[in-house]
C-alpha cells in the first residue's frame, strides 16, 4: 500500500483532507468534498465523472471488454491514461450479444451452435431493452450516434396465458387489455357501490365520497346510473366499428364473468403501475444491442483490446500489478501496469488466482449468479402482426421454462421475424438447459403453439443461450442476498490494494447495462482521485 505510505508524512495532502472529511462526516461529506473539487460524484448516474489533472503516466489494465471494461477504457484514455483490455472472447461487449447469421456459441456442455437466421434477422441474447431512466446507457448511445427505436414493453393487445388458474379462462390466451378492463372494472364497481351507500364513511368525508365515486366510475369505466361494470370499448369489439351501417358502430365485446376473471389468475400481470425497471418508455438500438459495444470499440485504438486472452493469474505488490494470461495461440503471456480494473464476473473470477486479502476473497464467494435462458425462433411470417394484430410486447405465461414469449419491436411488416421463444430463470432455466439446442427449440415451439395456432408451421430455425453454461459468465447476472449486500458487497466496492472490481454485480442495477457503466464510472473516479493524490 505504497500510496498510503506516500501520503502519510505530515503534509496536508488531498488524500488526508478526504480522510479527515470521512472521519468527521462519513462518506457523504467526503463525496460532497470531492464533488466540489471536480470529481463529480453528484452526477454519477447521468454522466461520466470528470477526470481532470492528468494521468501521471499511469497504466491501467482492464480485465474484460464488456460495458464496464469498455466504459473504463474509454473514459480513462480520454483522461490521459494508458489502458489495455484483456478480453476472453474474440469480440467485445461481454454479455451484450446479438445472435445473427454466422454467430457462434459453444457452451460448457459442448453444445456448439452457429446461428443460421436469415440476413437482417437477429435476437438480443443478452440485454435487450433500455429504460428511459438509464441515462448512463443512453449517454453512450447518444455519444456514439447509435440509432435507437422504441421497444414495446407493454401491449394491451398481447396475450396472457395462465395454465395454472382455474375456470373457463385458464389455459386460454386472453388479451391483456381485456383482463385489465374486467379486473379493474369489477373492482371499481364493488368499491363504488359500497362507497355510494355510505359504507366507507369512516374513511371518507361527504365531499370525498362523491369524488371517490367519480374516480371509480372513470377508473372502472362504470355505468353512471347504477355504478355497474358492463364492459367498455377499450376491451375490444366482437364486431369492429367501421363504415356505413354495417358494420357501422360494430359490437362491443362482453366482459368475462367476475368469478372467471378472478379464478384465472391472469390478473397477476396487472399492477397499478409497472415496476421502476419495467416502465415505459423503453428503447433498443436498431439492428441489435451490440451496436453499443461496437460504438466503444470504434472509439478506441484497435490495439487497446487483446482478444482471446484468458486470464490465469492476477498479481499485485506495492509497486504495481501483473496479469498472466493465455493468448490466442495458447501461449502464456503477461502484461504489467499500475492498477487493474477487473470486470470479470465474480462467478468466474473466484476460480482465478488473485493476490487479494482474505476478507476480499471471502466476500467474492458470497454472491450467486442466476441461471438464465433465452431462445430466438425465426418465423417465416410475422403471424402475430398479420393474424393477431400484436405489434411487439410480451406474452406472459405461467409455463415453467417459458416464462415470457416476446415479439420483436423491429422490422415491422417484414417478411420474417425472430421472436423470443422463452425467457426463464432459476431451476426452470437449469432444467431446459440440459437439453441439446434442437430439443430446446422443440420445447419452445410446443408451448408457443398453445398460444398461436400458426407457431409450429412457421418455425424455421433457432438460436438458444444458457448464460449459466457460458464459461465466461456462469450465470446471467449477480443475485445478492440481503445478507450479502450488507457484508460482502461493500467490501468488494472498495479496491483491494491496486485492484478495483467493476461491473453490474457492483451496483443495485444488477443485470442492466447501466449497472456496469455506473459501476465503472464510480471506480474510475476513485482510481483517478487516488492517482491525483499520489
Amino acid at each position: 500500500m505504497d500510496e498510503l505510505g506516500k501520503s502519510v508524512g505530515g503534509a496536508w495532502t488531498r488524500r488526508r483532507f478526504f480522510e479527515q472529511l470521512m472521519a468527521v462526516g462519513g462518506v457523504s461529506l467526503a463525496m460532497a468534498g470531492m464533488d466540489a473539487l471536480g470529481f463529480g460524484f453528484a452526477s454519477a448516474q447521468t454522466a461520466p465523472p470528470p477526470l481532470p489533472g492528468g494521468a501521471k503516466n499511469t497504466k491501467v489494465i482492464i480485465l474484460g471488454a464488456g460495458l464496464a471494461g469498455l466504459t473504463s477504457a474509454f473514459e480513462l484514455r480520454k483522461a490521459g491514461y494508458t489502458v489495455q483490455i484483456l478480453e476472453a472472447r474474440s469480440f467485445a461487449g461481454g454479455r451484450v450479444q446479438a445472435a445473427r447469421k454466422g454467430f457462434e456459441d459453444t457452451d460448457l456442455a459442448g453444445n456448439k451452435q452457429v446461428c443460421d437466421f436469415d440476413e437482417g434477422q437477429y435476437i438480443n441474447i443478452g440485454p435487450w431493452r433500455i429504460p428511459y431512466h438509464h441515462q448512463s446507457t443512453l449517454h453512450y448511445v447518444k455519444q456514439f450516434g447509435v440509432p435507437v427505436e422504441l421497444f414495446n414493453n407493454d401491449n394491451d393487445a398481447a396475450y396472457v396465458y395462465f395454465e395454472k388458474g382455474k375456470g373457463p379462462l385458464a389455459g386460454k390466451p386472453i388479451r391483456k387489455g381485456q383482463i385489465a378492463a374486467d379486473a379493474r372494472g369489477y373492482t371499481a364497481e364493488l368499491m363504488a357501490k359500497v362507497a355510494s351507500k355510505g359504507d366507507l364513511d369512516a374513511a371518507l368525508s361527504p365531499t370525498d365520497r362523491q369524488l371517490f365515486v367519480d374516480y371509480l366510475v372513470g377508473e372502472g369505466r362504470l355505468q353512471r346510473k347504477d355504478l355497474s361494470y358492463t364492459g367498455t370499448d377499450g376491451r375490444g369489439f366482437d364486431v369492429l366499428p367501421g363504415a356505413g351501417v354495417s358494420p357501422g358502430p360494430g359490437r362491443e365485446s362482453a366482459p368475462y364473468a367476475f368469478a372467471d376473471v378472478m379464478s384465472s389468475r391472469a390478473w397477476q400481470v396487472l399492477s397499478s403501475v409497472a415496476g421502476w425497471e419495467q416502465q415505459r418508455t423503453m428503447l433498443e438500438p436498431v439492428g441489435g444491442m451490440d451496436m453499443i459495444p461496437k460504438g466503444f470499440v470504434k472509439a478506441l485504438p484497435p490495439a487497446t483490446i487483446t482478444y482471446n486472452a484468458l486470464v490465469d493469474r492476477i498479481q499485485q505488490n506495492a509497486k504495481g500489478v501483473k496479469v498472466s494470461y493465455t493468448d490466442a495461440a495458447g501461449k502464456a503471456a503477461e502484461v504489467s501496469g499500475d492498477y487493474i480494473i477487473c470486470t470479470i464476473p465474480l462467478s468466474v473470477l473466484k476460480n482465478i488466482r488473485m493476490d487479494v486479502s482474505k476478507p476480499f476473497l471471502a466476500a467474492m464467494a458470497n454472491v450467486a449468479y442466476a441461471p438464465v435462458n433465452k431462445i430466438g425462433l425465426q418465423m417465416k411470417t410475422r403471424f402475430w402482426e398479420e393474424k393477431h394484430h400484436i405489434y411487439g410486447g410480451h406474452i406472459y405465461t405461467d409455463i415453467p421454462g417459458v416464462g415470457t414469449i416476446s415479439l420483436p419491436s423491429t422490422n415491422w411488416h417484414g417478411q420474417k421475424g425472430v421472436l423470443l421463444g422463452y425467457y426463464s430463470f432459476g431451476g426452470e432455466a437449469a432444467k431446459i438447459s440440459a437439453l441439446p439446442p434442437e430439443e430446446r427449440a422443440k420445447f419452445a415451439v410446443m408451448h408457443g403453439q398453445k398460444i398461436f395456432p400458426e407457431y409450429a408451421e412457421n418455425f424455421e430455425t433457432s438460436f438458444s443461450k444458457c448464460w449459466h453454461l457460458d464459461p465466461h459468465n456462469l450465470g446471467g447476472w449477480a443475485e445478492w442476498s440481503d445478507e450479502g449486500r450488507k457484508s460482502a458487497y461493500p467490501v468488494l466496492c472498495e479496491p483491494d490494494g491496486r485492484i478495483y472490481l467493476s461491473g453490474e454485480h457492483l451496483s443495485y442495477l444488477t443485470g442492466w447495462q447501466a449497472g456496469a457503466i455506473e459501476s465503472a464510472w464510480q471506480q474510475i473516479a476513485k482510481l483517478h482521485a487516488r492517482v491525483q493524490q499520489a
Partner: protein
C-alpha cells in the same frame, strides 16, 4: 472391504433403493444434470461434482436444505418438486457414481421443509 460395504448398503437399502432408482435418475437428469452433469462430476470451476461430495453425502437436513432453498448459484426447488421427488433425487445422488450414502425418505425431506421458514422474495414476471 469396499465390496463388502457396498453389498451391505445395498442389502440395507434393498428394495427401496431399487424402486427409487429409475425415478430418481430421471428426475436428476431432468433437473440437475444441466449443471452437475449426468456423470455427477459437475464442470470444473463452474458446477461442483456430486460424486464424493461431502455435503451431498452428509447429514440429510443439510443436503435437503440445499435442494429446497438453493445455495450460491443453485436455484431452489421447493416449488418445483415435492418431497417424494426430492427424496428420490437425493437417494439417486447418494447411491451412484461411487457414492455410498444412505437412502433418503420423503418424511425426512418433509421434516426439513416444515422447518424451512425463510421465504425469499417472489420473483417478478420479468427481469432486466
Amino acid at each position: 472391504m469396499l465390496k463388502f460395504v457396498a453389498a451391505a448398503v445395498l442389502a440395507a437399502g434393498g428394495p427401496a433403493v431399487a424402486q427409487a432408482q429409475p425415478v430418481g435418475q430421471a428426475l436428476y437428469n431432468d433437473n440437475c444434470a444441466a449443471c452437475h452433469q449426468r456423470t455427477g462430476l459437475g464442470l470444473k470451476g463452474a458446477f461442483p461434482a456430486l460424486a464424493g461430495d461431502k455435503l451431498a453425502l452428509g447429514p440429510v437436513p443439510a443436503a435437503a436444505t440445499v435442494l429446497l432453498m438453493g445455495r450460491g448459484g443453485m436455484p431452489a426447488f421447493r416449488n418445483e418438486l415435492n418431497d417424494a421427488e426430492l427424496a428420490a433425487i437425493l437417494t439417486y445422488i447418494r447411491t451412484n457414481w461411487g457414492n455410498k450414502g444412505a437412502v433418503v425418505t420423503s418424511a425426512q425431506v418433509a421434516a426439513v421443509r416444515a422447518r424451512a421458514t425463510a421465504t425469499p422474495k417472489p420473483r417478478g414476471l420479468q427481469a432486466h
